[in-house]
Amino acid sequence: MSYVSDVRALARKDLLLELRARDTLPAMLLFVVATFVVFHFSLPSGSSKLAASGLLWVAIVFTALLGLGRAFVPEREQRVLDGLVLAPCDRSAIWLAKGIATLAFLAAAEVVALPVFALFFHGISAATVGAVALADVGICAVGTFLGAMAVATRARDLLLPLLFLPLAIPIVVGGVGASVASAPARYLAFLALYDALFGVLCWATFEYVVAEAQ
């Protein structure tokens, strides 16, 4: 089997699992809408539009965290990861497939979340949508990677936000910048740079995360 078909088979497995069990996506949708309602009440009346734009990014990062925390749970509970590591495929394919599946969930949640945000707060610019798309790639690349590490530790669910949030700060900077600045191109380029750098780093080092003891 080629690399592409490995990735496709693994991603298909995750999407099918979600389609049948519906564990993650409904939770993410409910969470993001509930967060918006909380934000509405935490913004005093007369707050600027800019504040709401910033909060959109908080909601996205935390919704993503919710999905990422679930990403490797089936692998852990059923000990699927042992099987995957034994399978004759490149180990980075495991990361790539999981990242693609998580990206699909996050994108699906945002397809609902962004219109809801527009309804509750204010309209969304094309630059914001572009920034969300670019940020999703970075969030899923780094988050899936860290998720795989976090499930192997004793602290598990506790650890992922601690590992992920410092790495998500540049994404939030780029995203908020693209949402509020009059010239968003620079921020979009920054997000693309982040995706490229961390994408390559995760792809190259994932093998060591799932490697058997040697």
Binding site: A152, L159, P166, L167, P170, G174, F190, L197, F198, A213
Partner: protein, 230 residues
């Protein structure tokens, strides 16, 4: 894992002596020799320590990442512990950067914390990142998996440093005067420059000494444990 003494290593007492002499010289220079800064007066003297500590912390993080790379690449059994100790020293010096920066900000601008200071904000991000390194390391049982996780995470750190720095730079919506640009040397007069040089050397040697002390302590600890289980 047998503790191997590398022949080219400088003996620890010599290192400790060198750091004692250098740190004393640096303190004497900073407090008694170098003239007051024209704008900021006496309080500017914290600059010699603040900036040197910051550079030393970067050096520690870079050293930790280098050892992490050696671990992943060459499978050197010593590299994991060396990487951890370097990151540990980096976190200690990083905390000192936050403390000295905060004191300097309070004296110069009247606030303990300023979001407009790039270097301080960057160190806050790095502090959070490397604090999570310890959370990660100590929630995995000792062994190859822990070594791999730590190494990979330390490598993420050196990519995060420039990316975060860029992020903090572009996050500014207003122009803020930069007191110390990347070429510190160009806006410092002679005596200030070599005072800074001595302070920088002192802190680098001090950090290396502390690194070696901690490393040898950890090695003895590991060896003792090995003997106990044997």
């Amino acid at each position: 894992m047998r503790a191997v003494v590398r022949p080219y290593r400088i003996p620890l007492p010599a290192l400790a002596g060198a750091s004692l002499v250098l740190v004393t010289t640096a303190l004497a220079l900073v407090f008694f020799v170098v003239p007051n800064d024209a704008d900021q007066g006496f309080s500017q003297r914290i600059f010699y320590f603040h900036v040197s500590i910051a550079f030393t912390a970067y050096a520690c993080f870079a050293g930790g990442a280098w050892k992490a790379l050696v671990h992943l690449w060459k499978r050197d059994p010593r590299a994991d512990l060396e990487s951890y100790v370097a990151v540990h020293q980096g976190l200690i010096f990083g905390s000192l950067v936050l403390i000295t920066g905060s004191i300097w900000a309070k004296i110069s601008w009247g606030h303990w914390w300023l979001w407009s200071e790039d270097q301080l904000v960057l160190f806050l991000v790095l502090f959070l990142f490397y604090a999570a390194y310890f959370m990660l390391r100590f929630s995995v049982d000792p062994g190859p998996q822990r070594a791999n996780f730590s190494a990979v995470y330390a490598l993420f750190g050196v990519v995060l440093i420039p990316v975060s720095f860029l992020a903090i730079r572009i996050a500014k919506h207003f122009i803020h005067p930069i007191v110390f640009t990347s070429h510190v040397t160009s806006n410092l007069p002679g005596s200030m420059l070599w005072t800074y040089g001595v302070a920088q050397a002192a802190l680098l040697v001090l950090a290396y000494t502390l690194y070696r002390v901690e490393l040898s302590g950890k090695r003895i600890d590991a060896r003792l444990r090995e003997l106990r289980t044997a």
